[in-house]
Symmetry: C2
Subunit: 215 residues, 2 copies
Amino acid sequence: MEVVHIGRLVASVTDDNNKIKTMQDILFDFISKYVSLTEDEKNALLSLDLFHSVKKGTILLNEGQKTQDNFFVLKGCIRVYYIIDGEEKTTAFYTEMVGLTPHCVRKKVPSDYFISCVEDCILLISNTDMSSKVNSKFPKFDAMCRMLSEELLVKQQIDFDEFKTSSPEKRYLNLLQKRPDLIQRVPQHQLASYLGIKPQSLSRLRARILEKSKD
Amino acid sequence: MEVVHIGRLVASVTDDNNKIKTMQDILFDFISKYVSLTEDEKNALLSLDLFHSVKKGTILLNEGQKTQDNFFVLKGCIRVYYIIDGEEKTTAFYTEMVGLTPHCVRKKVPSDYFISCVEDCILLISNTDMSSKVNSKFPKFDAMCRMLSEELLVKQQIDFDEFKTSSPEKRYLNLLQKRPDLIQRVPQHQLASYLGIKPQSLSRLRARILEKSKD
DNA sequence: ATAAGTCGTTCACTTAAGTTAAGAAATGAT
DNA sequence: ATCATTTCTTAACTTAAGTGAACGACTTAT
């Protein structure tokens, strides 16, 4: 994995109001939705040097590999996929302000999937040892992590239920509603497998929908 | 919801070694896998009167209803289903030693699904207020709950990935491996919708598999 | 700049799931 | 015990997804 460490203030983007924001601003804005941090706590976070810039296509985790790293997307998009019978099966896309803890972190077994960058990304990468130290020092972080994982659990259950109860076409229309950005920024064949179908079927399905909308 | 409260020691089953076990034995055996309880702690748990006997077909939670109840299955099987376009869509079965916290408990919104008993059940029903009191009094419980929800999160992610990356036939074969009891104890039309297909398709699929295995 | 590879779409054909209907088997209610 | 209802299976037909191949558009590497 080739990951470039970046200074806290280097990377920046313009937000909805054309205000220039550094990645650390973005991070603290996000955190403030859950807990309020003192300057000391903010500095403690920054001193960990968690910010990383990662090039499109970089593989963050290989099948068979073990890791203790957690990934939090500040900018860009990362993707989880399996290779089953020689075929890529994408099961998740993580975009801005979403975090990913690989199974193998909790289960302490080699990963059975890959994680790679769909786009150039700016990520927070923290390993579990590190975060448990921080968490015990700053109970606030621990509280936040627990909130996040509760949120995640519910969200995942709902996503799973939606997937199970929908046809591929409904899943696509649902995605169009809920994550329209994905359809633009992600290659179609990855989207197709995320919807549980082949690229050809996705093409056809889209043509079908377009045809219907004409009437 | 008609739920019969039962004494701690009344209900019993015979285990694999033909030993008679009360529901409280079963509960404490389960808990001991995570934390070890003192007699005081065990008595505190029992004093809460959590054990309930529930008849097959009982609806534990209705769509549109709010609840603070958690359900833990000591014996029997409960099922989560949606009604979408007038059709039942089953998304989960919970069997022995598995717990269920409805979405609406965490999200504080009316439920968008039903929960009902597939069989006569013996359940632990605890409400969130109660358990948070117990948890703050006995940190051990809190620790156990956190372990359980971590376990659940990983398990769910894996289940979701398996579902996404499999065809209905593979899903059925997978279920046959992992939860063979379900295929016996659950009505076929509920199983079908759990697999994401219609009952007719499940019948056909089973016939197809049988046909293949003859060769 | 060119060649090789990747990606998205289209087409013809195959396979599997959805739909509608009918009948047998099991279950529940009176 | 009988009747009504629900459940499961089978069948014929429809619709949608899988497969294999071809083509143009776009990248990537050299």
